[in-house]
Protein backbone atom coordinates (compact mmCIF):
# COMPACT_ATOMS: atom_id res chain seq x y z
CA UNK A 1 0.00 0.00 0.00
CA UNK A 2 1.47 3.34 -1.04
CA UNK A 3 2.25 5.66 1.82
CA UNK A 4 2.91 9.37 1.75
CA UNK A 5 6.47 10.63 1.48
CA UNK A 6 7.88 7.14 1.15
CA UNK A 7 11.49 7.15 -0.01
CA UNK A 8 12.22 5.96 -3.53
CA UNK A 9 12.18 2.19 -3.80
CA UNK A 10 14.24 0.69 -6.56
CA UNK A 11 12.67 -2.14 -8.53
CA UNK A 12 14.89 -5.07 -9.48
CA UNK A 13 16.41 -5.12 -12.93
CA UNK A 14 18.64 -2.98 -15.07
CA UNK A 15 18.43 -2.85 -18.84
CA UNK A 16 19.76 -1.12 -21.85
CA UNK A 17 17.53 0.81 -24.13
CA UNK A 18 17.94 -0.80 -27.53
CA UNK A 19 19.57 1.62 -29.94
CA UNK A 20 21.83 0.08 -32.50
CA UNK A 21 24.42 -2.46 -31.56
CA UNK A 22 25.90 -0.52 -28.64
CA UNK A 23 23.76 1.56 -26.40
CA UNK A 24 24.95 3.77 -23.57
CA UNK A 25 21.47 4.32 -22.15
CA UNK A 26 20.76 2.21 -19.11
CA UNK A 27 17.28 2.14 -17.60
CA UNK A 28 15.94 1.50 -14.12
CA UNK A 29 12.56 1.61 -12.40
CA UNK A 30 11.70 3.17 -9.06
CA UNK A 31 8.50 3.17 -7.01
CA UNK A 32 7.32 6.51 -5.69
CA UNK A 33 4.24 7.42 -3.64
CA UNK A 34 1.76 7.39 -6.45
CA UNK A 35 3.70 6.53 -9.56
CA UNK A 36 6.31 4.37 -11.18
CA UNK A 37 9.40 6.34 -12.18
CA UNK A 38 11.26 5.18 -15.28
CA UNK A 39 14.80 6.52 -15.40
CA UNK A 40 16.93 6.36 -18.54
CA UNK A 41 20.56 7.28 -17.90
CA UNK A 42 22.82 7.97 -20.89
CA UNK A 43 25.80 8.77 -18.71
CA UNK A 44 25.54 12.61 -18.76
CA UNK A 45 21.80 13.20 -18.64
CA UNK A 46 18.86 11.42 -17.17
CA UNK A 47 15.40 11.42 -18.63
CA UNK A 48 12.32 10.44 -16.70
CA UNK A 49 8.87 9.08 -17.36
CA UNK A 50 6.19 8.77 -14.74
CA UNK A 51 3.44 6.19 -14.87
CA UNK A 52 0.80 6.93 -12.28
CA UNK A 53 -0.60 3.79 -10.69
CA UNK A 54 -4.18 4.84 -11.40
CA UNK A 55 -3.36 5.06 -15.12
CA UNK A 56 -1.61 1.72 -15.59
CA UNK A 57 -3.94 -0.52 -17.58
CA UNK A 58 -1.82 -3.61 -18.19
CA UNK A 59 1.59 -5.17 -17.81
CA UNK A 60 2.59 -7.44 -20.69
CA UNK A 61 5.31 -10.02 -20.55
CA UNK A 62 6.56 -11.97 -23.56
CA UNK A 63 9.28 -14.57 -23.32
CA UNK A 64 11.97 -14.24 -25.95
CA UNK A 65 14.79 -16.40 -27.20
CA UNK A 66 17.51 -13.81 -26.66
CA UNK A 67 18.99 -15.58 -23.66
CA UNK A 68 18.88 -18.95 -25.45
CA UNK A 69 20.56 -17.44 -28.51
CA UNK A 70 23.28 -15.89 -26.36
CA UNK A 71 23.76 -19.25 -24.61
CA UNK A 72 24.04 -20.95 -27.98
CA UNK A 73 26.51 -18.39 -29.26
CA UNK A 74 28.66 -18.62 -26.13
CA UNK A 75 28.58 -22.43 -26.24
CA UNK A 76 29.65 -22.41 -29.90
CA UNK A 77 32.49 -19.99 -29.16
CA UNK A 78 33.61 -22.09 -26.19
CA UNK A 79 33.51 -25.24 -28.30
CA UNK A 80 35.30 -23.57 -31.19
CA UNK A 81 38.08 -22.07 -29.07
CA UNK A 82 38.52 -25.34 -27.16
CA UNK A 83 38.71 -27.22 -30.45
CA UNK A 84 41.26 -24.76 -31.84
CA UNK A 85 43.29 -25.09 -28.65
CA UNK A 86 43.24 -28.88 -28.75
CA UNK A 87 43.96 -28.99 -32.48
CA UNK A 88 46.72 -26.46 -32.03
CA UNK A 89 48.39 -28.54 -29.40
CA UNK A 90 47.85 -31.87 -31.21
CA UNK A 91 48.44 -30.91 -34.83
CA UNK A 92 50.55 -27.77 -34.71
CA UNK A 93 52.40 -28.26 -31.39
CA UNK A 94 51.46 -24.91 -29.88
CA UNK A 95 52.66 -25.86 -26.45
CA UNK A 96 51.88 -24.19 -23.13
CA UNK A 97 51.47 -20.61 -24.36
CA UNK A 98 48.87 -21.48 -26.98
CA UNK A 99 46.94 -23.66 -24.56
CA UNK A 100 47.05 -20.91 -21.94
CA UNK A 101 45.62 -18.34 -24.36
CA UNK A 102 42.86 -20.66 -25.56
CA UNK A 103 42.19 -21.74 -21.99
CA UNK A 104 41.83 -18.14 -20.81
CA UNK A 105 39.46 -17.25 -23.63
CA UNK A 106 37.43 -20.40 -23.00
CA UNK A 107 37.27 -19.66 -19.27
CA UNK A 108 36.13 -16.08 -19.90
CA UNK A 109 33.30 -17.17 -22.17
CA UNK A 110 32.42 -19.97 -19.77
CA UNK A 111 31.93 -17.42 -16.99
CA UNK A 112 29.70 -15.38 -19.29
CA UNK A 113 27.70 -18.50 -20.13
CA UNK A 114 27.24 -19.41 -16.47
CA UNK A 115 26.10 -15.87 -15.66
CA UNK A 116 23.65 -15.88 -18.56
CA UNK A 117 22.27 -19.27 -17.54
CA UNK A 118 21.89 -18.15 -13.93
CA UNK A 119 19.92 -15.05 -14.97
CA UNK A 120 17.24 -17.26 -16.49
CA UNK A 121 15.03 -16.85 -19.57
CA UNK A 122 14.77 -13.45 -21.24
CA UNK A 123 11.60 -11.52 -21.91
CA UNK A 124 10.08 -8.31 -23.25
CA UNK A 125 7.99 -6.26 -20.85
CA UNK A 126 5.51 -3.57 -21.89
CA UNK A 127 3.47 -1.23 -19.73
CA UNK A 128 0.19 -0.04 -21.19
CA UNK A 129 -1.72 3.12 -20.34
CA UNK A 130 -4.66 4.76 -22.09
CA UNK A 131 -2.42 6.79 -24.37
CA UNK A 132 0.62 4.68 -25.06
CA UNK A 133 2.48 1.41 -24.53
CA UNK A 134 6.01 1.70 -23.23
CA UNK A 135 8.69 -0.95 -23.20
CA UNK A 136 10.47 -1.47 -19.86
CA UNK A 137 13.98 -2.60 -20.86
CA UNK A 138 15.10 -3.10 -17.26
CA UNK A 139 12.65 -6.00 -16.89
CA UNK A 140 14.42 -8.14 -19.47
CA UNK A 141 14.46 -11.41 -17.52
CA UNK A 142 11.38 -13.39 -16.49
CA UNK A 143 12.54 -13.85 -12.90
CA UNK A 144 13.27 -10.13 -12.46
CA UNK A 145 9.98 -9.16 -14.12
CA UNK A 146 7.98 -11.40 -11.77
CA UNK A 147 9.73 -9.85 -8.75
CA UNK A 148 8.98 -6.36 -10.05
CA UNK A 149 5.35 -7.25 -10.75
CA UNK A 150 4.99 -8.58 -7.20
CA UNK A 151 6.05 -5.14 -5.90
CA UNK A 152 3.98 -3.18 -8.41
CA UNK A 153 0.73 -5.12 -8.17
CA UNK A 154 -0.29 -4.02 -4.66
CA UNK A 155 0.40 -0.36 -5.47
CA UNK A 156 -1.68 -0.48 -8.64
CA UNK A 157 -4.48 -2.43 -6.96
CA UNK A 158 -4.59 0.10 -4.12
CA UNK A 159 -4.66 3.08 -6.50
CA UNK A 160 -7.38 1.54 -8.67
CA UNK A 161 -9.47 0.04 -5.89
CA UNK A 162 -12.02 2.87 -6.32
CA UNK A 163 -12.57 2.13 -9.98
CA UNK A 164 -15.79 0.28 -10.93
CA UNK A 165 -15.53 -3.46 -11.56
CA UNK A 166 -15.38 -4.30 -15.27
CA UNK A 167 -18.68 -5.18 -17.02
CA UNK A 168 -17.24 -8.27 -18.67
CA UNK A 169 -16.45 -10.99 -16.12
CA UNK A 170 -12.75 -11.68 -15.66
CA UNK A 171 -11.74 -14.95 -17.33
CA UNK A 172 -11.39 -17.90 -14.90
CA UNK A 173 -7.85 -18.67 -13.82
CA UNK A 174 -6.71 -21.85 -15.49
CA UNK A 175 -4.40 -24.35 -13.79
CA UNK A 176 -1.02 -25.02 -15.37
CA UNK A 177 -1.49 -27.21 -18.41
CA UNK A 178 0.22 -30.51 -19.11
CA UNK A 179 3.67 -30.81 -20.59
CA UNK A 180 2.17 -31.80 -23.94
CA UNK A 181 0.46 -28.43 -24.30
CA UNK A 182 2.87 -26.23 -22.38
CA UNK A 183 1.55 -22.92 -23.61
CA UNK A 184 -2.06 -23.49 -24.70
CA UNK A 185 -3.69 -21.04 -27.08
CA UNK A 186 -7.18 -20.19 -25.78
CA UNK A 187 -9.82 -20.00 -28.48
CA UNK A 188 -11.42 -16.66 -29.14
CA UNK A 189 -14.40 -15.62 -31.20
CA UNK A 190 -12.95 -12.94 -33.44
CA UNK A 191 -9.76 -13.19 -35.45
CA UNK A 192 -7.24 -10.76 -34.07
CA UNK A 193 -6.35 -7.91 -36.33
CA UNK A 194 -2.88 -8.23 -37.84
CA UNK A 195 -0.80 -5.09 -37.77
CA UNK A 196 2.24 -6.56 -39.56
CA UNK A 197 3.22 -5.48 -43.09
CA UNK A 198 3.27 -7.96 -45.95
CA UNK A 199 6.81 -8.88 -47.01
CA UNK A 200 7.16 -10.63 -50.38
CA UNK A 201 10.61 -11.97 -49.42
CA UNK A 202 12.74 -10.75 -52.32
CA UNK A 203 15.87 -10.47 -50.20
CA UNK A 204 15.15 -13.88 -48.69
CA UNK A 205 15.01 -15.26 -52.23
CA UNK A 206 18.31 -13.59 -53.14
CA UNK A 207 19.87 -14.97 -49.97
CA UNK A 208 18.72 -18.52 -50.77
CA UNK A 209 20.11 -18.42 -54.29
CA UNK A 210 23.41 -16.97 -53.09
CA UNK A 211 23.63 -19.73 -50.45
CA UNK A 212 22.98 -22.37 -53.10
CA UNK A 213 25.63 -20.84 -55.37
CA UNK A 214 28.02 -20.67 -52.43
CA UNK A 215 27.35 -24.33 -51.72
CA UNK A 216 28.16 -25.27 -55.31
CA UNK A 217 31.37 -23.24 -55.45
CA UNK A 218 32.50 -24.52 -52.04
CA UNK A 219 32.00 -28.09 -53.25
CA UNK A 220 34.09 -27.30 -56.36
CA UNK A 221 36.74 -25.69 -54.14
CA UNK A 222 37.28 -29.03 -52.40
CA UNK A 223 38.53 -30.61 -55.62
CA UNK A 224 40.00 -27.69 -57.55
CA UNK A 225 42.56 -25.22 -56.20
CA UNK A 226 42.07 -22.01 -58.10
CA UNK A 227 42.58 -18.44 -57.01
CA UNK A 228 39.49 -17.43 -58.99
CA UNK A 229 37.34 -20.00 -57.19
CA UNK A 230 38.60 -18.71 -53.86
CA UNK A 231 37.93 -15.12 -54.90
CA UNK A 232 34.46 -15.96 -56.14
CA UNK A 233 33.75 -17.86 -52.93
CA UNK A 234 34.75 -14.80 -50.88
CA UNK A 235 32.54 -12.53 -52.98
CA UNK A 236 29.63 -14.92 -52.59
CA UNK A 237 30.24 -14.97 -48.87
CA UNK A 238 30.04 -11.20 -48.63
CA UNK A 239 27.02 -11.18 -50.89
CA UNK A 240 25.31 -13.69 -48.64
CA UNK A 241 26.10 -11.55 -45.62
CA UNK A 242 24.64 -8.45 -47.27
CA UNK A 243 21.53 -10.35 -48.36
CA UNK A 244 21.14 -11.76 -44.83
CA UNK A 245 21.26 -8.33 -43.26
CA UNK A 246 18.72 -6.96 -45.74
CA UNK A 247 16.47 -9.98 -45.22
CA UNK A 248 16.64 -9.53 -41.43
CA UNK A 249 15.72 -5.86 -41.78
CA UNK A 250 12.82 -6.60 -44.09
CA UNK A 251 11.42 -9.46 -42.03
CA UNK A 252 11.24 -7.32 -38.92
CA UNK A 253 7.58 -6.61 -38.04
CA UNK A 254 6.43 -8.39 -41.19
CA UNK A 255 4.23 -11.43 -41.79
CA UNK A 256 7.17 -13.73 -42.57
CA UNK A 257 6.69 -17.03 -40.72
CA UNK A 258 8.79 -18.20 -37.76
CA UNK A 259 10.50 -20.97 -39.70
CA UNK A 260 11.71 -18.65 -42.46
CA UNK A 261 12.85 -16.13 -39.85
CA UNK A 262 14.79 -18.94 -38.15
CA UNK A 263 16.46 -19.81 -41.46
CA UNK A 264 17.56 -16.17 -41.89
CA UNK A 265 18.93 -15.98 -38.38
CA UNK A 266 20.54 -19.39 -38.87
CA UNK A 267 22.19 -18.09 -42.01
CA UNK A 268 23.59 -15.13 -40.05
CA UNK A 269 24.94 -17.43 -37.35
CA UNK A 270 26.50 -19.72 -39.94
CA UNK A 271 28.17 -16.83 -41.74
CA UNK A 272 29.45 -15.47 -38.44
CA UNK A 273 30.96 -18.85 -37.72
CA UNK A 274 32.56 -18.98 -41.18
CA UNK A 275 34.00 -15.49 -40.68
CA UNK A 276 35.54 -16.50 -37.34
CA UNK A 277 36.93 -19.67 -38.91
CA UNK A 278 38.24 -17.76 -41.91
CA UNK A 279 40.01 -15.30 -39.65
CA UNK A 280 41.60 -18.05 -37.59
CA UNK A 281 42.61 -20.11 -40.61
CA UNK A 282 44.16 -17.08 -42.31
CA UNK A 283 46.39 -16.53 -39.30
CA UNK A 284 47.31 -20.21 -39.36
CA UNK A 285 48.17 -20.03 -43.08
CA UNK A 286 50.25 -16.88 -42.61
CA UNK A 287 52.24 -18.54 -39.84
CA UNK A 288 52.57 -21.81 -41.76
CA UNK A 289 53.81 -20.22 -44.99
CA UNK A 290 55.83 -17.56 -43.15
CA UNK A 291 54.38 -14.77 -45.30
CA UNK A 292 53.36 -11.28 -44.39
CA UNK A 293 50.07 -10.48 -46.07
CA UNK A 294 49.90 -6.82 -46.97
CA UNK A 295 46.71 -6.82 -48.99
CA UNK A 296 43.56 -8.77 -49.71
CA UNK A 297 44.93 -10.24 -52.95
CA UNK A 298 47.79 -11.86 -50.99
CA UNK A 299 45.23 -13.32 -48.57
CA UNK A 300 43.20 -14.79 -51.40
CA UNK A 301 46.36 -16.22 -52.97
CA UNK A 302 47.31 -17.74 -49.64
CA UNK A 303 43.92 -19.41 -49.33
CA UNK A 304 44.02 -20.79 -52.86
CA UNK A 305 47.47 -22.35 -52.20
CA UNK A 306 45.99 -24.58 -49.49
CA UNK A 307 44.47 -27.75 -50.87
CA UNK A 308 41.44 -29.16 -49.04
CA UNK A 309 42.54 -32.70 -49.87
CA UNK A 310 45.81 -32.15 -47.98
CA UNK A 311 44.34 -30.37 -44.95
CA UNK A 312 41.76 -32.31 -42.89
CA UNK A 313 40.58 -29.19 -41.07
CA UNK A 314 39.96 -27.33 -44.32
CA UNK A 315 38.32 -30.37 -45.89
CA UNK A 316 35.88 -30.84 -43.02
CA UNK A 317 35.13 -27.15 -42.89
CA UNK A 318 34.41 -26.95 -46.61
CA UNK A 319 32.21 -30.03 -46.40
CA UNK A 320 30.37 -28.54 -43.43
CA UNK A 321 30.00 -25.24 -45.29
CA UNK A 322 28.69 -26.99 -48.42
CA UNK A 323 26.16 -28.96 -46.43
CA UNK A 324 24.93 -26.03 -44.34
CA UNK A 325 24.68 -23.62 -47.31
CA UNK A 326 22.76 -26.23 -49.28
CA UNK A 327 20.44 -26.98 -46.38
CA UNK A 328 19.77 -23.32 -45.60
CA UNK A 329 19.30 -22.39 -49.24
CA UNK A 330 16.90 -25.22 -49.99
CA UNK A 331 14.96 -24.83 -46.73
CA UNK A 332 14.70 -21.10 -47.34
CA UNK A 333 13.35 -21.55 -50.86
CA UNK A 334 10.78 -24.12 -49.77
CA UNK A 335 9.58 -21.98 -46.86
CA UNK A 336 9.50 -18.89 -49.05
CA UNK A 337 7.37 -20.67 -51.62
CA UNK A 338 5.01 -21.72 -48.85
CA UNK A 339 4.91 -18.14 -47.51
CA UNK A 340 4.07 -16.72 -50.95
CA UNK A 341 1.44 -19.32 -51.55
CA UNK A 342 -0.28 -18.51 -48.23
CA UNK A 343 -0.13 -14.72 -48.48
CA UNK A 344 -0.39 -13.41 -52.03
CA UNK A 345 0.72 -9.84 -52.79
CA UNK A 346 -2.11 -7.40 -51.94
CA UNK A 347 -3.68 -5.72 -54.98
CA UNK A 348 -2.54 -2.16 -55.73
CA UNK A 349 -4.60 0.57 -54.14
CA UNK A 350 -7.16 2.22 -56.41
CA UNK A 351 -6.49 5.89 -57.00
CA UNK A 352 -9.17 7.88 -55.19
CA UNK A 353 -11.69 9.44 -57.51
CA UNK A 354 -13.93 12.35 -56.71
CA UNK A 355 -17.50 11.24 -56.35
CA UNK A 356 -20.08 13.85 -56.97
CA UNK A 357 -21.97 14.90 -53.85
CA UNK A 358 -25.67 14.75 -54.33
CA UNK A 359 -27.22 17.88 -52.85
CA UNK A 360 -29.96 17.25 -50.33
Amino acid sequence: MASQNQPLRRLPGRGRKAFGVVSATSTRLYLEDDHLLYVANDRFTESYMRFYFRDIQALLLCRTNSAKNVNLFLAVVIGFVSLVGLLGDYSWNWGGAGLAVCGSITFFFLILLIINLARGPSCLCHLKTAVHTEELPSLNRVRVAHKAFALLRPEIDAAQSQLAAPEAPAPPLVQASSAAAQFPTPSFANQPSRLRKHEPGRFHEILCYVLLADSAFTALDIFYDSIWLTLLGSLLGFGALAATVMALVRQNESDIGRALRAVTWGSLAYQGLMLIFGFGFTIYLAVKHQVQTDNQWELVRLWSMESALDSPVLLWTLMFSTAVSLALGLAGLILLREHRRRSPTPPPLDTPTETPVTPV
Binding site: P7, L8, Y30, L37, V39, R43, F44, T45, E46, S47, Y48, M49, R50, R54, D55, I56, Q57, A58, L59, L60, L61, C62, R63, T64, L124, C125, H126, K128, T129, A130, T133, F149, I156, D157, Q160, L163, A164, P166, A168, A170, P171, L173, V174, Q175, A176, S177, F183, P184, T185, P186, F188, A189, N190, P192, S193, R194, L195, R196, E253, R258
Partner: protein
Amino acid sequence: MLDLTLACPQCRVRFDEAFFNRPDFTSCPGCGAPIKAEVFPAFFQPPAVGQSGENILVEGESSCFYHPQKKAVIPCESCGRFLCALCDVEMKGQHLCPACVETGKKKGKLKHLQDQRVLYDDIALWLTILPMVFFPFLAFTALTAPMALYVSIRHWNAPTSLIPRTKLRFVIATVLASLQILGWAAVIIAFTRR
Protein backbone atom coordinates in the same frame (compact mmCIF):
# COMPACT_ATOMS: atom_id res chain seq x y z
CA MET B 1 -16.64 1.50 -27.97
CA LEU B 2 -13.74 0.39 -25.81
CA ASP B 3 -10.97 -1.64 -27.44
CA LEU B 4 -10.61 -4.56 -25.05
CA THR B 5 -7.66 -6.16 -26.80
CA LEU B 6 -3.93 -5.98 -26.21
CA ALA B 7 -1.03 -6.35 -28.64
CA CYS B 8 1.70 -8.95 -28.33
CA PRO B 9 5.01 -7.17 -27.54
CA GLN B 10 6.80 -9.19 -30.22
CA CYS B 11 4.53 -9.55 -33.22
CA ARG B 12 1.91 -6.85 -32.38
CA VAL B 13 -0.96 -9.24 -33.12
CA ARG B 14 -3.89 -8.32 -30.89
CA PHE B 15 -5.41 -10.79 -28.44
CA ASP B 16 -8.53 -10.53 -26.32
CA GLU B 17 -9.71 -11.20 -22.76
CA ALA B 18 -9.17 -14.95 -23.02
CA PHE B 19 -5.46 -14.23 -22.47
CA PHE B 20 -5.84 -11.79 -19.56
CA ASN B 21 -4.70 -12.54 -16.02
CA ARG B 22 -3.75 -16.14 -16.59
CA PRO B 23 -1.40 -17.62 -13.97
CA ASP B 24 1.01 -19.08 -16.56
CA PHE B 25 2.34 -18.14 -19.95
CA THR B 26 0.12 -18.79 -22.96
CA SER B 27 1.00 -18.90 -26.65
CA CYS B 28 0.53 -15.73 -28.64
CA PRO B 29 -2.00 -16.31 -31.45
CA GLY B 30 0.32 -14.53 -33.87
CA CYS B 31 3.89 -15.61 -33.26
CA GLY B 32 3.37 -18.41 -30.73
CA ALA B 33 5.68 -16.76 -28.20
CA PRO B 34 4.77 -17.34 -24.55
CA ILE B 35 2.95 -14.24 -23.27
CA LYS B 36 1.39 -13.14 -20.02
CA ALA B 37 -0.91 -10.16 -19.56
CA GLU B 38 -1.78 -8.67 -16.17
CA VAL B 39 -4.74 -6.39 -16.69
CA PHE B 40 -6.01 -3.90 -14.13
CA PRO B 41 -9.42 -2.21 -13.65
CA ALA B 42 -8.21 0.94 -15.43
CA PHE B 43 -8.16 -1.03 -18.69
CA PHE B 44 -11.93 -1.46 -18.62
CA GLN B 45 -12.70 2.15 -17.81
CA PRO B 46 -13.85 4.46 -20.61
CA PRO B 47 -11.53 7.40 -21.24
CA ALA B 48 -12.18 10.31 -18.86
CA VAL B 49 -14.12 13.16 -20.41
CA GLY B 50 -12.51 16.53 -19.83
CA GLN B 51 -14.49 19.58 -18.77
CA SER B 52 -14.80 22.43 -21.21
CA GLY B 53 -16.03 25.06 -18.78
CA GLU B 54 -19.43 26.73 -18.45
CA ASN B 55 -20.33 29.87 -20.32
CA ILE B 56 -21.21 32.93 -18.29
CA LEU B 57 -24.97 33.10 -17.95
CA VAL B 58 -25.35 35.88 -15.40
CA GLU B 59 -23.77 39.28 -16.06
CA GLY B 60 -21.20 40.25 -13.46
CA GLU B 61 -19.97 36.73 -12.85
CA SER B 62 -16.21 36.31 -12.67
CA SER B 63 -14.75 35.15 -15.95
CA CYS B 64 -11.71 33.08 -16.78
CA PHE B 65 -8.54 35.09 -17.52
CA TYR B 66 -7.87 33.06 -20.70
CA HIS B 67 -11.52 32.59 -21.78
CA PRO B 68 -13.51 35.75 -20.98
CA GLN B 69 -16.77 34.12 -22.01
CA LYS B 70 -16.37 31.18 -19.59
CA LYS B 71 -17.20 31.18 -15.90
CA ALA B 72 -14.27 31.19 -13.47
CA VAL B 73 -14.38 28.31 -10.99
CA ILE B 74 -11.05 28.55 -9.17
CA PRO B 75 -8.05 30.87 -8.93
CA CYS B 76 -4.55 29.74 -9.87
CA GLU B 77 -2.60 29.00 -6.68
CA SER B 78 0.57 30.41 -8.20
CA CYS B 79 -0.41 33.64 -9.96
CA GLY B 80 -3.94 34.16 -8.67
CA ARG B 81 -5.59 34.36 -12.10
CA PHE B 82 -9.18 33.14 -12.35
CA LEU B 83 -9.53 29.94 -14.26
CA CYS B 84 -12.42 28.11 -15.90
CA ALA B 85 -12.83 24.32 -15.72
CA LEU B 86 -10.93 23.95 -18.99
CA CYS B 87 -7.88 25.94 -17.88
CA ASP B 88 -7.69 24.48 -14.38
CA VAL B 89 -4.75 22.04 -14.22
CA GLU B 90 -4.90 20.00 -11.05
CA MET B 91 -1.64 18.41 -9.98
CA LYS B 92 -0.86 16.86 -6.61
CA GLY B 93 -3.69 18.80 -4.98
CA GLN B 94 -2.59 22.12 -6.51
CA HIS B 95 -4.69 24.11 -9.01
CA LEU B 96 -2.53 25.95 -11.55
CA CYS B 97 -3.02 27.71 -14.84
CA PRO B 98 -1.25 26.41 -17.99
CA ALA B 99 1.19 29.31 -17.99
CA CYS B 100 2.31 28.61 -14.41
CA VAL B 101 2.65 24.94 -15.22
CA GLU B 102 4.92 25.80 -18.14
CA THR B 103 6.95 28.28 -16.10
CA GLY B 104 7.18 25.90 -13.16
CA LYS B 105 8.45 23.13 -15.42
CA LYS B 106 11.04 25.36 -17.11
CA LYS B 107 12.37 26.76 -13.83
CA GLY B 108 12.38 23.40 -12.14
CA LYS B 109 9.91 24.42 -9.45
CA LEU B 110 7.53 21.58 -10.27
CA LYS B 111 9.72 18.60 -9.55
CA HIS B 112 7.10 16.09 -10.60
CA LEU B 113 7.02 17.55 -14.11
CA GLN B 114 10.75 17.39 -14.72
CA ASP B 115 11.55 14.92 -17.45
CA GLN B 116 15.24 15.52 -17.86
CA ARG B 117 18.23 16.51 -15.78
CA VAL B 118 21.86 17.07 -16.64
CA LEU B 119 24.24 15.09 -14.44
CA TYR B 120 26.97 17.63 -13.85
CA ASP B 121 28.67 15.45 -11.27
CA ASP B 122 29.04 12.63 -13.80
CA ILE B 123 30.29 15.06 -16.43
CA ALA B 124 32.94 16.40 -14.05
CA LEU B 125 33.98 12.89 -13.03
CA TRP B 126 34.27 11.60 -16.59
CA LEU B 127 36.25 14.67 -17.61
CA THR B 128 38.89 13.71 -15.07
CA ILE B 129 38.83 9.94 -15.54
CA LEU B 130 38.51 9.40 -19.30
CA PRO B 131 41.84 10.98 -20.38
CA MET B 132 43.62 8.94 -17.71
CA VAL B 133 42.15 5.63 -18.89
CA PHE B 134 43.61 5.92 -22.38
CA PHE B 135 47.29 6.71 -22.10
CA PRO B 136 47.65 8.53 -25.47
CA PHE B 137 45.02 11.00 -24.28
CA LEU B 138 46.79 11.82 -21.02
CA ALA B 139 47.93 15.15 -22.47
CA PHE B 140 44.30 16.23 -22.73
CA THR B 141 44.16 16.46 -18.95
CA ALA B 142 45.69 19.91 -19.40
CA LEU B 143 42.32 20.95 -20.82
CA THR B 144 39.92 18.59 -19.09
CA ALA B 145 41.21 19.16 -15.54
CA PRO B 146 40.33 22.89 -15.47
CA MET B 147 37.04 22.10 -17.21
CA ALA B 148 36.19 19.49 -14.60
CA LEU B 149 37.10 21.86 -11.79
CA TYR B 150 34.93 24.60 -13.31
CA VAL B 151 31.96 22.25 -13.74
CA SER B 152 32.32 20.99 -10.15
CA ILE B 153 32.45 24.47 -8.63
CA ARG B 154 29.90 26.10 -10.91
CA HIS B 155 27.29 23.35 -10.54
CA TRP B 156 28.02 22.25 -6.97
CA ASN B 157 24.54 23.22 -5.81
CA ALA B 158 22.71 22.48 -9.04
CA PRO B 159 20.08 19.73 -8.79
CA THR B 160 21.46 16.50 -10.15
CA SER B 161 19.59 13.26 -10.46
CA LEU B 162 16.07 12.82 -9.11
CA ILE B 163 17.42 9.65 -7.55
CA PRO B 164 19.06 10.83 -4.32
CA ARG B 165 22.83 10.75 -4.47
CA THR B 166 25.69 12.26 -2.50
CA LYS B 167 28.26 14.81 -3.69
CA LEU B 168 30.87 12.08 -3.84
CA ARG B 169 31.30 12.36 -7.60
CA PHE B 170 31.90 16.10 -7.33
CA VAL B 171 34.42 15.51 -4.53
CA ILE B 172 36.34 12.86 -6.48
CA ALA B 173 36.28 15.01 -9.64
CA THR B 174 37.55 18.04 -7.70
CA VAL B 175 40.35 16.09 -6.04
CA LEU B 176 41.44 14.39 -9.27
CA ALA B 177 41.26 17.60 -11.27
CA SER B 178 43.29 19.43 -8.64
CA LEU B 179 45.93 16.70 -8.67
CA GLN B 180 46.08 16.80 -12.46
CA ILE B 181 46.49 20.60 -12.44
CA LEU B 182 49.21 20.32 -9.80
CA GLY B 183 50.89 17.68 -11.93
CA TRP B 184 50.90 19.95 -14.94
CA ALA B 185 52.20 22.84 -12.82
CA ALA B 186 55.06 20.61 -11.66
CA VAL B 187 55.83 19.61 -15.27
CA ILE B 188 55.86 23.24 -16.42
CA ILE B 189 58.07 24.32 -13.50
CA ALA B 190 60.50 21.48 -14.15
CA PHE B 191 60.56 22.32 -17.86
CA THR B 192 61.21 26.03 -17.32
CA ARG B 193 63.99 25.39 -14.82
CA ARG B 194 66.05 23.43 -17.36
